[in-house]
């Protein structure tokens, strides 16, 4: 690691000012991704701005029938929040299977999103929950559906001077279920991650969300699968077909964590299993 300058401002305003004057500065929240990159030399920032003291990034609150999740909330904070457990148990589960307790007490939801790893555990559930990214900069603010936030591995639509302040989650309709496939029970990255949300009415699917992780350059929504499920009643045959369709919709690669064929197969199995769990 090479030496760097470190700022720890107290407010979003100060963060944005610093970003404007030092556009190449890197933001650090929990540091569980950035610090590793710095140690390995793949990131060599001259300036690092810590977000730890920024009050506006914290917390979880209800606002006008929707929920606000501060980007600086730690994964441990998510797993310990009774409100989140009540409204978003699937999201809480996803946070609980990331790495280890030590990592979870540092890592933040905003970091998990902005690091834009295809295998990030929180992203498929947030996609399935129709999360909206609330972005601020010195020029103003914008709200972008999380589904449009990612451009590629490690790449997001955030422009220079912008930060992810919070996420808005609509009142959830129906249940959401996340499953992570990894060889080990903890301390592992997802080989595939699958989030499925279904809103049903008298057994019929009114709305479906199927979001997949680690099977493409970004986490993605399997929209054809969602369409296949919408308006139908879940049957074993339909659930099987949905799994197969989702496997067709994704484009995994062979890498050290899994072969493409295996990832596609796991998408097929986990989509079906999640649907069965939501039956």
């Amino acid at each position: 690691m090479k030496p760097f300058e470190h700022f720890a401002p107290d407010s979003v305003g100060e963060v944005l000012d610093l970003l404007q004057s030092i556009p190449k500065a890197k933001l650090i929240a929990g540091g569980t991704d950035l610090l590793l990159q710095m140690k390995q030399g793949s990131a060599q920032p001259d300036t690092v701005i810590s977000l730890k003291n920024v009050e506006e990034l914290r917390g979880f609150a209800t606002r006008k029938a929707r929920f606000r999740l501060g980007a600086g909330m730690t994964l441990r904070g998510i797993t310990r929040s009774p409100e989140l457990k009540k409204h978003f148990p699937g999201l809480v589960y996803a946070a609980s299977v990331v790495a280890s307790e030590q990592i979870r007490s540092l890592a933040t939801v905003g970091g998990n999103i902005c690091n834009a790893s295809p295998s990030a555990d929180l992203i498929p559930p947030l996609l399935a929950l129709d999360a909206v990214a609330h972005i601020v900069s010195r020029d103003g603010q914008r709200d972008i559906p999380l589904a449009d936030f990612f451009k590629g591995p490690g790449k997001t639509i955030l422009k220079s001077g912008e930060i992810l302040l919070s996420l808005f989650l609509p009142q959830p309709s129906g249940n959401m279920f996340y499953s992570k496939h990894a060889p080990r029970q903890f301390m592992d990255l997802a080989v595939v991650g699958v989030a499925v949300r279904l809103q049903k009415n008298q057994g019929m699917v009114r709305e479906a969300r199927v979001a997949l992780g680690a099977v493409g350059p970004t986490p993605l929504r399997a929209k054809k699968t969602e369409a296949l499920l919408t308006g139908k009643t879940l049957t074993p045959k339909l659930m099987l077909e949905a799994g197969e369709m989702a496997a067709d919709e994704c484009s995994p690669i062979d890498d050290i964590r899994g072969s493409a064929w295996y990832r596609k197969r796991m998408i097929k199995i986990h989509v079906r299993r999640n649907l069965e769990a939501l039956l």
């Binding site: 060889p183 080990r184 301390m187 050290i256 072969s259 295996y262």
Partner: protein, 755 residues
Amino acid sequence: MKEFSAVGKRIPKTDAPDKVTGRATYGQDFKLPGMLHGAIRYSDHAHARILNIDTSKAEALEGVKCVVTADDVPETRFGFYKDNMPLKKDVVRSHRDEIAGVVAVNEMIARQAVKLIKIEYEILPAVFNVADAMAENAPLIQPNRDSNHLITNTYNHGDVEQGEAESDVVVEVTCKLPYVNHASMETCVIVAKFDHSQNLTLWSTTQIPFLLQKDLGAALGMSPKNIRILQPTIGGAFGRELDIYPYHPIAAIMAKKAQVPVRLCFSREEEFRAGPQRQPVEVTIRAGAKNNGDLTFRDVSMTLDVGAYVSWGSTTPMVMMETTASFYRVPHVRFKADCVYTNNLITGAMRGYGNPQSSFYVESAMDMLAEKLGMDPIQFRIQNANQPNTITEQGLKITSCGLEDCLKALAERAETKLEPAAQPHLKRGRGVGGTLNVGGGARIYRSDGCGATVKVDDFGHVSLITGSTEIGQGSETVLAQMVAEILSVPVDDVRVINSDTDVKMWDVGVHASRTTFIAGNAACLAAKEALGQIFETASELLGASPDSLKAENGQIIAPDGKSVSLSKVVRSRHFRSGGQMVFGQAFYDPPTELVDKDSYHGNISPAYGFGMQMADVEVDTETGQVRVLKLICAKDIGRAINPMAVEGQIEGGAQMGLGYALSEEVVIKEGKVMNPNFVDYRLFTSADMPEIENIMIESNDPEGPFGAKGIGEMGSSCVAAAVTNAIYDAVGVRLTQPPMTPERVLAALDTKAAG
């Protein structure tokens, strides 16, 4: 049987409190005044000619003290085949090759500076597997050899053709065993310092302080008598530090040029790149049996990729042939192993030393035979089990032997059938696997001995100064227990001194499950000599003959009941005209022999340990995921000097073995490690560990101290075999390539489904 006061007791490791509270000074914590930090520049290619090395930019970086290259040292070579050198000059032969080093005020600057060294290469063709390395016109990796073929080890007893002719069933299986890494918590670290008279002191995590003196002397072109090695608390080694590696002399070269102490500490990535790995093996075994269940023959041939330089990996066939020839009774055995140079990683010693590999193929074949015979796998093994007081065809003198008892204990547990899984896609199965392990060292040098001295001071405090090395295995505790038992003092009154080559007596090193046995016997002999001196003086004080005295709870007691404290005896002996100290010494070299260099016959160890494990697994047939539900470990350990420490060794071994079975593999691509970190090199974590039941079979070895045998390695050796047999039992596919990852299991299930 005599009631013991210290031996056989469950005592927490004496060094544990300091370790778990952070008070222990590990090598990585160690600092000297004025110490600088080194970093190594490795090769960028698997095989290349070095055309030019430009160190000017590195030297110009602020904070850099000096840069070292091969030009700074006399051209020396080291290793069994004298094929390695500290810093490479003309040719690099693998990605691990050291070209230069930087000394700087801190590690960060040193690491930055090595990147600034500009090296021009001419890339040479490279080979990354045995077949390519053996091909005609393959690029020659070591210049002084005719080919990349290093050595063939062959072993024979009986007549395999006759054995096969007598067989009613024959099986054959080809297995591929992977590279794995020791993954010690502490990475390799060394601090080197020269004094004004050019004496070198090293603080090192080595397992072989006395051999390292000699090897380093050769590598540095200096006399071993000017090299002193100190060992700080060592954070795990598992065989990694059983040889000299280039970073040892490089640290000394750096310290010499910088003229200050220099510390060199591996990053985790370097640990994977430059450190040794467990030897990978491709092996085919043919084996046969008669309808009555008697084994007839084994025919094994294997190839081993030893990388670009030879270390201990190339000698693992010696251990594999032992399992092949002597584990269970087999009348006809043929074994052939070819070691070949490639441009891959180097291979070294690692816990089990060939046994994890040989247990896997031998026990796979055993289950295949049992199935063909329609026999219960445990009963089949009992029928062929080694027996006490027998000599194997290879010449192993098996004295104590609890193999049959281990198997019977498992048979008893196996009477409780597995509960079926809760869901139809989950299938459960059960499998066993075993190992034959040396139980008290292995004579691979002319001496397999260890020296010890025991002194008792005026206050009754006992120092055991032993040649052996503590690497976390618990030797300090069990050695203290043995000495405390003999002198009848509390274990807390015995301190073990084991960290300085200038102080301690010679020892060959910590390996081959030998410390409890060899260092234990040495410590017991020294303690007995000290006790003799104590009795000699006490007999004067008590007016009774030395033979009639006994030691109990720190007192020396005469037959008439009169007693005197041990410390008083020592003072009486010391503070008198012509006084003497209480000071016992011993050198124990076990009654074993070097194996014949051509036939490999001979009794290499004074005792043999046997272990069997039974794994219950659950396989997810849709994902290939294997969960181990329970692992029962039945081990013939001779006697447990400290049952808690034995459990620690077995359970720690199980963790390593489960990683080998299911999740660990150093993945290499064109000689480069693709997963040099703990994200993608998957150690088995505490969350993945199954329930473990320990069954200790105490066979009471006649030569072992208090009947004990070594247990350090066998806990890890037979896990993968038990797991693969359990997977077969669950889903009917035979996995031949650990780690048996979900992807590999699912691919095997697909192949089976496709017919």
